[in-house]
Amino acid sequence: MLDLLKQLINGLQVGSIYALVALGYTMVYGIVKLINFAHGDIIMVGSYVCLMAIPILSAAGLPLWLCAVGAALFCAILGVVIERVAYKPLRNSPRISALITAIGVSLLLQNVFMLLFTATPKPFPAIFTGGNVTLGGGFTVSFITLLTILVAVVLMVLLQLFIKRTKIGKGMRAVSEDAGAAQLMGISVNTTISVTFAIGSALAAVAAVLYSSAYPMIDPYMGSFLGIKAFVAAVLGGIGSIPGAMVGGLAMGVVESLTKAYISSQMADAVVFLILIVVLLVKPTGIMGKNIGEKV
């Protein structure tokens, strides 16, 4: 029983990271209808930026967790630049062109970082120094696990408030519903899309710090499979839906953790993939997705 509880908490930890990454996928998909393949690699960039920032921070005597802020800023700018340079010229082209460009950007990021830092995995220093936390009944969890879940929940609540309450958030919802009509209402579509990419990439950077702290080995290809899993989480929750990404991410994390613990650690990825097939068969719109009729 205690073991099961431990696995569930582990699952929630991984799931929180998936959820943070899935938010980026789902927001971008909702607004420009593009699977942003480069999103997974933004995570990798975030990890490397942290790795570079840590010596500077420790030399300046600042707390190490500030590297998360730096990574978030860097990734937000990178996300906007990628959108402006690579995706914006193709906004009115066939979707297959935009998709191939996204794959191209993803490969470009991977290979640039491979040439810069080589393909050998680098150890990621421990930036959150906190021991195990006892929750009573002799049940302990590590500090980083609790922190991951807590940070993810806080960020999701903030994002939800941002989308629902602020003017830019309202604009994002309007553009994702009908970009043309939103433009006629005086919403700047370009700014809104840039903000979406910036927020999504910043969340990915936070996920990167949390992920690298939990699994302290980073390499240029770390983002690609993490990205696929997060995308599966977004589809599971309902692509385009922000609460859906959170639910999907957490559900995926728990399923994966339980599979690893009780069935086979090698087959965990296959199980995740099987879930995607089943979801697409039974309810393609996902758990929280809305079914939108098609117009001719």
């Binding site: 082209s93 979707r95 297959i96 087959m267 697409l280």
Partner: protein, 323 residues
């Protein structure tokens, strides 16, 4: 018309045979070294892969990122069958190719049917995941040699077999895309709502194109396995799928000629430029992005080179006569 089709088949067959005789003559004469003979076999295999992927990505307009996964299935199936030595020599290889293709088709149906019912780009992500999962499963299975790899596969593939299988695959796919079914597939890529309204069963044709592509990827995989003599699951990773996709995109989505030219070009080029390998994927990624910005239809666009058309152009009077 019938006579015309027959004549064009004959002309193209003669041309393919002429190229074959030329290359074998160069090989026997020692002009093409043993190392480059191997490269030519790989070029033929890449050509089969690219032409088949062009059916899904170019003509149907769905991105598939798991072509190496189907190749892997075909390679392992074919290798196990030729290793079992059911038939000796080339017939055994043909049996292996057929079996490898069919097993790939089963997997393609398993992932194609649920995904291709849907609109949107789900196929890209599902095939991407599929390619990775196949690798994990192959490494976990007991009879595929696991992570150490499968060894002792009879080396049955040579240039002659690879070349003629390639010619056959190109001919079959070319005939297919010019048929009623091929036109239906092109119609879906142009406008899926209009094609559905015109009575084309979209899901059926999407799945058909996807499974045919998977079949030929399996065939190519079997050729590859029987050329290498040793297989490791890591060979068929995501980068292999991207290699094939780059060939299709650069050559031209919807042009078999483009795929053939790009397959030979991109297989031979890295051999000629030593030290290029480190930067290959970097160059590919930039090429993909720039291509989509400035020439989204690829080098050839939808253009097909036609030998018969060339002959008729050179002899305009004969054209009147044969009609």
């Amino acid at each position: 018309m019938k006579k015309h089709t027959l004549a064009s088949y004959l002309v193209n067959f003669v041309a393919a045979a002429a190229v074959y005789i030329l290359i074998t003559a160069l090989m026997n004469g020692g002009v093409i070294s043993r190392q480059y003979q191997g490269v030519l076999v790989f070029a033929c295999i890449n050509c089969i892969l690219a032409v088949s992927l062009n059916l899904t990505t170019g003509f149907l307009g769905e991105i598939a990122l798991g072509h190496a996964g189907f190749m892997s299935i075909g390679a392992y199936t074919g290798a196990l069958i030729t290793k079992a030595d059911l038939l000796p020599g080339t017939p055994g290889l043909l049996l292996g190719m057929l079996a490898g293709g069919l097993v790939a088709v089963i997997f393609a149906l398993f992932i194609g049917l649920p995904v291709l019912r849907l609109k949107g780009d789900y196929l890209a992500i599902v095939t991407l995941g599929f390619g990775e999962i196949i690798r994990v499963i192959v490494e976990a299975l007991p009879f595929t040699g696991g992570a150490k790899g499968l060894t002792g596969i009879p080396r049955l593939t040579n240039f002659t077999i690879a070349y003629w299988v390639m010619v056959a695959v190109i001919a079959i796919l070319f005939a297919f895309i010019r048929s009623r079914h091929g036109r239906a597939i092109i119609a879906i890529s142009q406008d899926d709502i209009a094609s559905e309204a015109a009575g084309i069963p979209n899901t059926y044709y999407k799945t058909l194109a996807f499974t045919i592509a998977a079949f030929f990827a399996g065939v190519a995989g079997c050729l590859f396995a029987n050329y290498m003599g040793i297989l490791g699951a890591k060979t068929f990773n995501f980068l292999k799928s991207i290699d094939i996709l780059v060939i299709v995109v650069l050559g031209g989505m919807g042009s078999f000629t483009g795929s053939i030219v790009a397959a030979f070009g991109l297989t031979l080029l890295p051999e000629l430029l030593r030290g290029f390998d480190q930067y290959r994927m970097l160059v590919y990624s930039i090429a993909l992005i720039l291509m989509m910005m400035f020439r989204p239809s690829g080098l050839m666009g939808g253009y097909e080179f036609s030998l018969t058309r060339l002959i008729y152009k050179l002899k305009p009077k004969r054209k009147e006569a044969t009609k």
